[in-house]
């Protein structure tokens, strides 16, 4: 599945463009999840995903403001590509379940923030220019804070019981 090794973009602008892309993609995916959960009357998880989408969107706005961008810059042809199919902070579409609970949603969010932290650590390691290395370390620190915040958040929500996915009227009968 790998497309490229962990090479870092050369310029700060290109690096921040990828960081922005990552935040936008994560925000959009959370919004999609929120819509899906709303349609399935799972309001609690929908609200949580909506909140996460807002948080990622604010991060994107912060990057835009820091770089003085009014619009996200167009992708650099032949530029840096993600190692997988999607940005490290994006949760795969198939990871959600219509009966999932806030704890599950936060578990997914935690994993995504941890992937983002690891990604920026790799970028700091692979950076060939000082501005990119510095920015990568800064963003890694921010992601680490998010990891911590989500861990604290998880303490406040109940852990699901073993039968959380039991549906008295399931779409699929297996017995």
């Amino acid at each position: 599945m790998s497309r490229a090794g962990p090479k870092a973009p050369r310029t700060l602008a290109e690096f921040m463009q990828k960081a922005l892309e990552m935040e936008i993609e994560a925000s959009q995916r959370y919004a999609e999840f929120a819509d899906a959960m709303e349609m399935h009357n799972n309001r609690e998880v929908a609200d949580l995903f909506r909140r996460m989408s807002g948080i990622e969107n604010r991060h994107a706005e912060q990057i835009m403001a820091e770089m003085g961008w009014k619009e996200p810059p167009p992708p650099t042809p032949g530029g840096f590509r993600w190692e997988g199919f999607e940005a490290p902070e994006t949760i795969a579409v198939d990871e959600v379940h219509y009966l999932m609970q806030p704890y599950h949603a936060l578990t997914l969010a935690l994993a995504s923030e941890e992937r983002a932290e690891r990604f920026f650590a790799q970028m700091a390691e692979a950076a060939t220019t000082e501005p990119v290395r510095k920015a990568a370390l800064e963003l890694m620190g921010e992601e680490r804070e998010h990891v911590e915040l989500i861990r604290q958040w998880m303490q406040k929500v109940p852990k699901p019981d073993r039968n959380w996915a039991d549906d008295p009227d399931p779409p699929r009968y297996t017995d």
Binding site: A36, E38, M39, A92, V93, R172
Partner: protein, 285 residues
Amino acid sequence: MNDAVTLPETAEAAGPLTAKDYKSAYKPIWCPGCGDYSVLGAVTRAFALVQVRPENIAVVSGIGCSSRIPAYTSCYGFHGVHGRSLAAATGLKVARPDLTVLVACGDGDGYSIGGNHFLHACRRNVDLTYIVMDNHVYGMTKGQPSPTTEPDWDSKLAPGGTGVRSFHPLVIALASGANFVARAFSGDPNGTAEIIAQAIRHPGFSFVEILSPCVTFRPEQRSWKEQARPSPVGPTGDAAQAARRLMTDDGFNIGVLYTGDRTPYPLGPRGTRRSIAELEAEFTL
């Protein structure tokens, strides 16, 4: 057109359109986790890549989960009869060559009920883009095996599996004359958008098979994201070479596999034009 964002009169007035401009106000009702969400995202991104305005695009579908897609775009849409999306789309494109026509359906609708239309749409080579969201199951009707289901897929509705060989849509498309053949994966929405955009730009009949997991009836398809990878080789214009590649790969190589140069079916009115009244007169008893 579906409920949509208000677009300015001209493209110049607004700058480039974005994926958001092609989404309608309707929210999809697919199961959470369904690959079709990503396909919808990829389709709207592809439209933004080709920068054709929504009112110049028609999305035509058949019946099934994936065929709900026209309602979720801000383009013109036609949710047609089971298996007949290609027939409707062919008529539309021939009558309105100015429209970009994207046809969308699933593996049951496209390869079983609409299987015959698929063969002849490839053969006719009308300038259409045909995307099939393939999850190897009839999802909307609760999990019956479809033409692409593996013969040994054991389920309550097909105990022990059907024992019937799976249909190979890409080889069939190639052999039947499709001018562009590609495989995409819903877990790669950016790559899928690029492939669909290429398919739209390519003249003639373009076929894109999109692996799109059904997490409800085929939860094991979650492993597709570990199996799918970019094709190690680029597209070829040699149909024989493309066929060899397709027959020997494991079904998870993603990318454009074949780009042909057949002349597309001529569009627009042909022959002697007759009025509706004249046509009607022929059928008057």
